[in-house]
Symmetry: C2
Subunit: 277 residues, 2 copies
């Protein structure tokens, strides 16, 4: 692992790092906020999955999580959203290819070799972080925004019990039922829609997945709500499944980091209650 | 004035705007955070001047001022750092030309026509904002970072009594005595160093300028401290002048927004005490 940068922030350290991933076959960058702590013990961790077009840097620079993580003693980790590099295939669109990995393991050429973000996150990245930072893998929360909200929901629903708390801001709740999802799933996974279901939070719940401690935050003035995000599909699935989850709709808020930042400190406190219980 | 974007944030509105400046002869962009307020009265304002390479967007996206401004009921305004556009002269360097206006009125060709950031800020921009937002021009504070810290100090020192409070993070305290300053002042103002003194906070104090309610925040691990910022020159000038100002040195902090964000809420509370007294 290589250190790209480290800066003191709210008493802790905000760093950016790089490692060579065996899963994607590329170097992968990520950001870690480590609060000040004198003990040699391990700290709870929140994994933050970012949205379309983002690298590890967007949340690191724009999302106001650091003060709350400092206060609650939580490590906050932001991976990249896709493999990178000249040898990695790409697409001109902002919603496919680099910056748009959708947290799937691609099966279609030319994506299948490197676009393996599901396996990267679930089977490699979290372990790499745990080997290099004092995270307590018994106290993990997962969260994300937009495409990363989709990532947080689906990673957690596929791994019940692994995360004590799951939150999603402005998530894409059902790639099966929106243009962003249909484009990405067709491109990465092919036309068989059955193969998409492990990457669709609504389908996962329909197919029996259950998790506790789930909360969703969604702005009512989000420009993508009606066509892409369709929060109500998740609300319906949660209700039909009898799951005890909260979906908070926020009047006047849009899809931006200005919205997410407004509610991130409260969300981190919510995670902290569960991670430190 | 044209609205570029508006997003709800901490109950208020973070917007980006554009107007045609008669001073620079170009369109100029700026950011305004307006907290939620029901009264028809006017609110105190903090003018934030940004550093090298920045537009209005850097502080808007990276600096964690919004929650504190929401809490204290303060409007927070970020202008650009230079004129922009294809017709504006530029330099390849990051520290001269676009993004590096240094808050001076250039006298040298080809800069003199458009690089008039002193007059823009002091004589045009603040009035444009006051005509379009409910700012109380009797309750103004000014602040900034790095080149913008230099801007805040020198704008305030040239206009005693206009700002109730002045703060500077990691400021360039004396362009007469550092490579960034010597390069910019030579380029914009020519070789006569007497002409630089109105743009040098140390020289302004030596020449008799006095302001109240001044605070400086500086990271001790700032990579630019020894060669460019030289905070001690300002500390010495303040002491010799018998000015009641505070210079806070912060152990372990560098030059980044991670440093500024760590202390901005406390700094806004400090401004608020003076603006709302």
């Amino acid at each position: 692992m290589e250190t790209i940068s480290q800066s003191r922030c709210y008493g802790g350290t905000q760093g950016a790092y790089r490692h060579d991933s065996r899963t994607t076959g590329t170097p992968m960058t990520f950001a870690v906020y480590e609060p000040e702590h004198r003990s040699t013990g391990r700290l709870p961790v929140i994994w933050w999955l970012s949205g379309l077009t983002c690298t590890h840097e967007n949340a690191m620079n724009k999302l106001e999580y650091k003060e709350a993580c400092s206060e609650h003693g939580i490590i906050f980790v932001c991976p990249d959203t896709s493999p990178r590099g000249d040898e990695v295939p790409d697409d001109e669109a902002y919603d496919f290819g680099k910056g748009a990995g959708f947290y799937v393991d691609a099966t279609q050429d030319p994506w299948a070799d490197s676009f393996r973000m599901r396996s990267y996150i679930e089977d490699e990245f979290m372990d790499v972080v745990a080997q290099n930072f004092p995270v307590d893998m018994e106290r993990q929360g997962i969260a994300g925004h937009s495409m990363g909200g989709h990532g947080a929901l689906t990673v957690s629903l596929r791994n019940p019990g692994r995360f004590r708390s799951t939150s999603a801001f402005s998530p894409i709740v059902s790639p099966l039922n929106c243009p962003w999802g249909e484009k990405a799933m067709t491109g990465y996974l092919g036309p068989d829609r059955e193969a998409w279901r492990p990457y669709d939070s609504v389908a996962l719940i329909e197919d029996g997945a259950r998790i506790d401690n789930l909360v969703v935050h969604q702005g009512r003035d989000d420009q993508f709500l009606d066509e892409q995000l369709k929060t109500w599909l998740l609300s319906d699935a949660l209700r039909h499944a009898g799951m005890d989850a909260a979906v908070h709709m926020h009047e006047g808020y849009d899809h931006s980091y200005f919205f997410v930042s407004t509610f991130i400190a409260g969300n981190i406190a919510w995670h902290a209650e569960r991670l430190k219980a």
